[in-house]
């Protein structure tokens, strides 16, 4: 029997103590595993949020409020200058205009309703404010809400963000116009198209000009789907807004450069524009999640250190208790190396048992802990807590605990023994797949580090024990 086997056997010598040591180690390891998983979930969520919103900056005229307009429009010249700033990859410009019912053959799909009644009444009683009313033939029933026309140089992602652009729309038929187009063409929202029975190839009039429909889009909201998208140059010409831009979206090459570009734009445009990066808003929202990340990192490190200290003290206690035995081994001619190997093997046995129990427990408690941490910190990232850990063992068994528990494997799976997260989002799922393995790797490395630390002090004590002590009666 070699030193390693003696060590493993010694780990079971005192059952009560072994159970105690393993349980304490398991708690520490479970804590660190769950912190690691919490950290992964939160990190993934932060990255997802950042990636989806991060690298754009919105520039609008000072005092401009969405589709209501306001402020002095910016000029194409000013906006084009932004392309020269470093780290800027694209500038999407848009001009938001209103087509009054007198200026177009189109009818707004938005019901007049109470809002319209009020505005209609308002418009009718005072034709000088006719921008909202129906002008000279002001009667309540003839009133119709104006249609919003957005001139853009980036069809494809112009509508969702409202007047600020930056959103995405899906073409359901036809095709988009080119960014530099000057043609009298339009892509119309699905709701508006239905209301006016427009198809690709249909025409309508706007500002006295015949406009051809080249595409129909759907952005998923009745409000945006009531809009008309036209080339920027065309709207500037027809609406007599030459060189005007009501909003621009500056695309930055990297999330990390957003702050710098934000400053540069502010400096360049001065007081005529409001410069807002979505990142700033998002970062503020992410602050609680970031603090969860920090807490979990510290807890993670803390619990690994804690486990190491526990094991170290236990091993120290065990070595002291077996001081005489160590002396006997030395007297029998055991080299220090062999005795140290024996104790390392003993502490490694404790650690491996603690790691196995702790790993399973850690996964079981990680979801509740993640939810608790995220909700306690006021974070809005509820999806971070819905990442249940799916464990495929290739057999039956397992249990479901709602969104926060295990999902039982449905029979044998090819990836037996693989760990996989089931999350709400596909991207999250994918990210978590690797997190499962790295978590396992972490548990393994942490266990080795803990065992090594725990054994070092024991080893130092072993070396210092004088074999002559065995001849002294206690």
């Amino acid at each position: 029997m070699n030193a390693v086997r003696r060590g493993i056997r010694n780990a079971f010598r005192n059952a009560m103590r072994s159970v105690g040591v393993v349980v304490i180690l398991a708690v520490a390891i479970a804590l660190s595993i769950s912190m690691l998983i919490a950290r992964d979930a939160v990190t993934t969520k932060i990255d997802t949020v950042r990636a989806s919103t991060g690298n754009t900056i919105t520039v609008s005229p000072k005092g401009f409020f969405g589709f209501q307009g306001g402020g002095t429009p910016l000029t194409t010249t000013q906006i084009n200058g932004l392309l020269n700033l470093s780290n800027v990859t694209a500038v999407q410009e848009s001009l938001s205009e209103q087509l009054k019912s007198t200026q177009t053959s189109l009818t707004s799909p938005t019901p007049v309703g109470q809002l319209g009644q009020q505005f209609g009444g308002f418009g009718g009683s005072s034709s000088s404010t006719g921008s909202l009313g129906s002008g000279s033939s002001a009667t309540t029933t003839a009133f119709s809400i104006p249609i919003r026309v957005i001139g853009t140089n980036s069809p494809g992602n112009a509508v969702e963000g409202g007047a600020n652009g930056g959103g995405t729309e899906k073409l359901t038929s036809g095709s988009a116009f080119s960014p530099t187009s000057k043609a009298d063409v339009a892509i119309v929202g699905g709701t508006l198209a239905t209301k006016n029975t427009l198809k690709v190839g249909s025409t309508f009039s706007a500002w006295g000009t015949k406009i051809t429909v080249v595409g129909i889009f759907n952005a998923g909201s009745t409000f945006t789907d009531s809009n008309v998208l036209m080339p920027l140059a065309t709207v500037q010409k027809l609406a007599s807004a030459t060189n005007q831009v009501t909003s621009a979206t500056v695309v930055v090459n990297n999330i990390n450069n957003v702050a710098g570009v934000d400053k540069a734009i502010t400096k360049k445009l001065g007081s005529v524009a409001d410069v807002t990066s979505t990142q700033a808003t998002v970062e503020a929202q992410l602050a609680p999640l970031n603090s969860v990340k920090t807490i979990s990192t510290y807890t993670l490190v803390g619990s690994v250190i804690g486990a190491a200290i526990i094991l170290l003290l236990s091993m120290l206690m065990i070595v002291r208790e077996r001081r005489r035995e160590v002396g006997v081994l030395k007297a029998l001619g055991a080299p220090n190396r062999s005795i140290i190997t024996q104790f390392i093997s003993e502490s490694t046995t404790f650690t491996i048992m603690g790691a196995i129990v702790g790993f399973i427990a850690g996964i079981a408690v990680s979801s509740p802990i993640t939810s608790a941490l995220v909700s306690a910190s006021g974070g809005s990232a509820s999806s971070a807590s819905t990442s249940g850990f799916v464990r495929h063992l290739g057999g039956s068994g397992g249990f479901t605990g709602g969104s926060s528990g295990f999902t039982p494997p449905t029979g044998a799976t090819p990836g037996a023994g693989a760990f996989r997260f089931g999350g709400l989002h596909n991207t999250v799922t994918q990210l978590h797949t690797s997190a499962g393995w790295s978590t396992l790797g972490f548990a393994f490395i942490a266990a080795i580090v803990i065992a090594a630390l725990g054994s070092t002090v024991a080893a130092a004590t072993i070396v210092r024990i004088r074999p002559a002590e065995v001849l002294r009666s206690e």
Partner: protein, 224 residues
């Protein structure tokens, strides 16, 4: 053949220096059993620890079959302890979670005996000391004191050492068991051709030795 010359060991304690072993010189032949007697604190255990290379002497030489041992390095002392010397203690000092046989095999492992021979050698040694074959797989706690000391003697002789150092081997046993242990040591010494040094308080025990040495305040002299 053991040759000890001018061995000195002084402990420096807070209460002053203790000259535990002073200028000790003696010889012992192979197969010889030598009793060492002396009052408590006279230096008997210290002398054994020097001879067993558990501790280093301040001065002097220890020779076994012409090999000088007093100035070996740590690795050399470890090797000597595993192959050339066997200890028998008053408290038996068997490893509690190993069986009798495993305790004997442990000594063979440290002495680097060929793996395949260890089992047979351990069984032969247990048979030599008279342990019932049925008790070879018992742990020490399930053996009587006398049986434990037999196992300890089997362990001490297992790797065929030149020198056996027994510190009060009968101190924890009753008189008749003690007698049996001493005769066992005598038989083993002549059978294995090893020198056996037995430290004892017991007159009767010491009289069974081939020779008797007395130590007083670290100074050793032969008793005629």
């Amino acid at each position: 053949m053991l040759k000890v010359e001018n061995l000195d060991k002084t402990f420096h304690t807070g209460a002053g220096d203790v000259h535990a072993v002073q200028n000790v010189t003696f010889n012992a032949n192979d197969g010889e059993v030598v009793a060492i007697i002396g009052a408590s604190g006279s230096g008997k255990s210290t002398l054994l620890s020097l001879l067993g290379l558990l501790d280093a002497p301040d001065r002097g030489s220890i020779e076994i079959d012409g090999n000088q041992l007093a100035n070996l390095d740590a690795a050399g002392r470890t090797k000597y302890r595993s192959t050339q010397v066997g200890f028998v203690f008053q408290q038996f000092n068997l490893i509690p979670n190993l069986s009798a046989k495993e305790n004997v095999k442990l000594a063979l492992e440290f002495a680097h005996w060929p793996k395949e021979d260890r089992e047979a050698r351990a069984e032969a040694m247990l048979e030599m000391v008279g342990l019932d074959a049925g008790k070879a797989d018992r742990r020490p706690a399930k053996l009587s004191g006398g049986e434990q000391q037999r196992v300890a003697i089997a362990r001490a002789f297992a790797a065929q050492p030149q020198l056996i150092l027994a510190d009060e081997p009968t101190g924890s046993l009753d008189k008749s068991t003690g007698q049996k242990i001493i005769s066992l040591l005598r038989e083993a010494a002549s059978q294995q051709k090893a020198t056996v040094l037995v430290v004892t308080h017991d007159e009767k025990i010491s009289q069974q030795a081939d020779r008797r040495l007395e130590i007083e305040d670290g100074v050793l002299k032969e008793i005629a």
